[in-house]
């Protein structure tokens, strides 16, 4: 059964069947990554452009590796200045790139809705690698893949997302994906960083991190950005750590097994203590490895290539 979408703009409206298909396909690719030569000819001849309007290390490398492992040709376009400032519109940029005969575009941009906007400009398949505060679907998919690897199923799993929910596209996609897969979601962070009416996603909200720890099977800990403190949304990083930081002490008090995730990069000692990040119950590095397999699956399924993966 093929994927019911031409693009991956987000996980909103994506069915449990489609998510399962991506995760199942990623399982195959995950095995390939452990081979002596972790490369398949599946997407030979296909050209992918990685269009990054925002600084990124792991997501860009992860996509690039996924493309190379599938034998696709990839080109990178990275800029921290928006095209508007350069005097060229986003539409012109993407249409020029498409004119060079490309098949797929992986895009990251500061502004929400850019991946959808690109679908109106060009025919290529668009993959959202993070748009503003909106969605980051491949991150949520790799998070779910990692959880499925550990717990076998997502149905009924309790996942608490901790931190700056307002500005987090990782939260945006995780909430939608986990809800679609039947998991329970709780959000926790300072009230100033919880978006308006977020309960309408069908999630619980708490401002007490110990409540969240007591409730959850999994903590997905988000990176806290210094610029939010500078914007006056919380007083100091010190107080953030004191109130919301995930520490060994807090986890011990909960007296249960708990799995720790983080989309990276980690601010050690702020949202997550170093010993927790590196503990055996942390799956942070598994997330990174799985990211390549999940992105291979997304690229493959959106390529329209019907050949089976060997």
């Amino acid at each position: 059964m093929p994927l019911q979408q031409k693009h991956l703009l987000g996980l909103e409206g994506v069915s449990a069947e489609d998510i399962s298909l991506i995760l199942d396909t990623a399982t195959t690719f995950r095995e390939i990554l452990d081979r002596p030569i972790p490369k398949v000819p599946t997407l030979r001849g296909l050209t992918v452009v990685n269009l990054f309007y925002e600084a990124s290390t792991r997501t860009r490398i992860s996509f690039e590796l996924a493309e190379k492992r599938l034998s696709a040709d990839s080109v990178n376009f990275t800029t921290s200045t928006s095209s508007v400032k350069k005097g060229e519109t986003l539409k012109d940029t993407i249409r020029n790139i498409e004119a060079m005969k490309i098949d797929m575009v992986v895009v990251r941009h500061q502004a929400a809705g850019v991946p959808r906007f690109l679908t109106q400009c060009v025919d290529a398949a668009i993959i959202n690698a993070g748009d503003g505060m909106h969605e980051h679907p491949t991150q949520a998919l790799l998070d779910m893949f990692t959880l499925r690897e550990k717990f076998a199923k997502l149905q009924g799993l309790r996942v608490a997302i901790i931190g700056d929910i307002s500005h987090s596209r990782v939260a945006g996609s995780n909430i939608r994906g986990l809800k679609a897969m039947g998991a329970e979601v709780m959000l926790c962070g300072p009230k100033t960083l919880i978006p308006r009416d977020v309960e309408k996603f069908g999630v619980q909200v708490t401002y007490d991190v110990e409540d969240a720890i007591a409730w959850a099977d999994v903590l997905n800990v988000l990176r806290i950005q210094l610029e939010r403190q500078e914007a006056g949304l919380f007083p100091t990083l010190r107080e953030y750590h004191a109130e919301f930081g995930i520490t060994q002490q807090r986890l011990e008090r909960a007296k249960k097994d708990i799995t720790i995730m983080h989309p990276g990069p980690i601010n050690r000692g702020v949202e997550l203590d170093a010993d927790v990040a590196d503990a055996e119950y942390s799956v942070i590095l598994n997330q990174v490895t799985n990211g390549v397999a999940v992105r291979m699956a997304v690229l493959y399924l959106l390529s329209g290539n019907e050949e089976s993966v060997s």
Partner: protein, 435 residues
């Protein structure tokens, strides 16, 4: 576009005169000579040899007025000119518009007011300049209000920019109250609204777009009403968009404060849920609000809390709008579709009577600005709109008279065909191609 014609003698026959001043309906022909109503009567066509408009099945009424229009001239003549804006106004059934002062240069001097008056003289549509509250719209020092009024300004506003400094606003209200002109404010707390591209709520959370909370508007409305009460000045709230603001205006009016307000057609017909596809033609400021706000605004229009309907016609070039949502400027067109949207979404639905909404476009704006209401009497200037209220039509972007195309209504079915307008000795009849 059909031409504006001048006629020594013009006969409007077969229509029904609706006089908004007393609500009367009369089946009478109107004979116009040298721009004035020469005779009202029956069967005036017999033996008449001048220009004729067959108004059978139409209402003949006082010309509609839109008190919130961005004509973009001087400065952005690629987006709109006084001429193209007036053409759009005629197509929308208007015979008068107020020109907002956020032009380049801004309308903060007598020279710009006089320029607008002069350019407007050649038009059927009367162009009434609104001058800036503060020099360069910077919100720091008030403009030469006395002289601006003498030059022809009918109100003051820094529209687009709220006057953030409360002391400046107090002085502006106090000073302008000497001339009995309203101070029109785009109510927005600049810090609360900073960076917001849409209404803050469930939809902004879903779309991941920074929002402006409704209180960014109502906090400013509350401040302005308090200032109007204290100074005795007249505050007019532009494009009111939230239930909370509306309640404040309602209470202000009950307490005898000189506060009036207007609402746009888009805030009555659309909610923030329409933004699901990030259409930049739905991006305006104030933003589309929640469904609850929309319902409250309709009640406010019915119960008289809202005095006028105005379009906030804001032309933008295709280049400016054909970008990612965050990069697009605020504003959409409105002159040519205002009447149609109101008739479709408020009258046809049975929520308001035709006469009630027409008054909000005929009497409302003129009362707010202290302007005389045109009279449909022999010897008076003929200032008329000819409308077939029940006729349906489909909006076609390609047929707009505006120079810009930034509107979300392409393909919408609307009600109320404007057959033509008459004013200042000119008349204009819509052609077959209409927006």
């Amino acid at each position: 576009m059909n031409e504006i014609k001048k006629a020594k003698a013009l006969l409007l026959s077969g229509g029904t005169i609706y006089d908004a001043s007393d609500g009367s309906h009369k089946r009478l022909d109107i004979l116009i000579a040298d721009g004035k109503i020469k005779q009202l009567g029956t069967d005036l066509a017999d033996g008449f040899s001048g220009e004729k408009i067959d108004a059978s099945g139409h209402l003949l009424m006082q010309g509609l007025m839109d008190m919130h229009v961005h004509l973009r001239e001087p400065g952005r003549e690629d987006e709109e000119t006084i001429e193209s804006g007036c053409a759009a106004a005629m197509a929308g059934g208007m015979t008068a518009v107020c020109a907002m002062p956020n032009t380049t240069p801004p309308c903060d001097s007598q020279e710009v007011v006089r320029f607008l008056k002069k350019r407007g003289e050649e038009q059927l549509v009367e162009v009434l300049p609104i001058a800036c509250v503060s020099k360069k719209r910077a919100g720091a020092e008030i403009t030469e209000m006395a002289e601006l009024v003498k030059a022809g300004a009918v109100a003051f506003s820094d529209d687009g920019n709220p006057v953030a400094n409360t002391a400046v606003m107090r002085a502006a209200l106090e000073y302008s109250s000497m001339f009995e002109v309203p101070l029109i404010e785009h109510c927005e707390d600049p810090h609360l609204a900073a960076g917001g591209h849409m209404h803050e709520g469930w939809m902004s959370t879903r779309l991941g777009l920074p929002g402006q909370p409704d209180i960014a508007e109502s906090i400013m409305v509350a401040r302005n009403i308090a200032l109007a009460e204290y100074t005795g000045g007249h505050i007019h709230i532009a494009h009111i968009s939230t239930a909370k603001s509306l309640e404040l205006v309602r209470r202000g009016k009950e307490n005898g404060v000189k506060v009036t307000c207007e609402v746009t057609p888009h805030h009555l017909a659309l909610s923030d849920e329409a933004l699901i596809d990030y259409d930049t033609n739905l991006k305006m400021n104030p933003p589309l609000r929640s469904r609850l706000d929309v319902e409250a605004l309709k009640i406010g229009l019915r119960d008289g809390t809202i005095d006028a309907i105005a379009s906030d016609h804001a032309p933008h070039s295709i280049e400016e709008k054909d970008v990612e949502f965050a990069a697009a400027p605020f504003g959409i067109l409105g002159l040519e579709t205002m009447l149609g949207i109101i008739l479709k979404h408020l009258v046809q639905t049975g929520e308001m009577r035709l006469e009630e909404v027409l008054k909000k476009m005929i009497i409302g704006p003129r009362q707010i600005l202290g302007l005389p209401l045109p009279r449909i009497k022999e010897g008076e200037v003929a200032n008329l709109t000819i409308l077939q209220p029940d006729a349906a039509w489909t909006v076609r972007k390609a047929n707009l008279h505006s120079l810009s195309r930034n509107m979300p209504y392409d393909g919408w079915e609307l009600n109320g065909r404007v057959l033509g307008v008459v004013n200042r000795g000119y008349f204009w009849v819509a052609g077959e191609a209409r927006p």
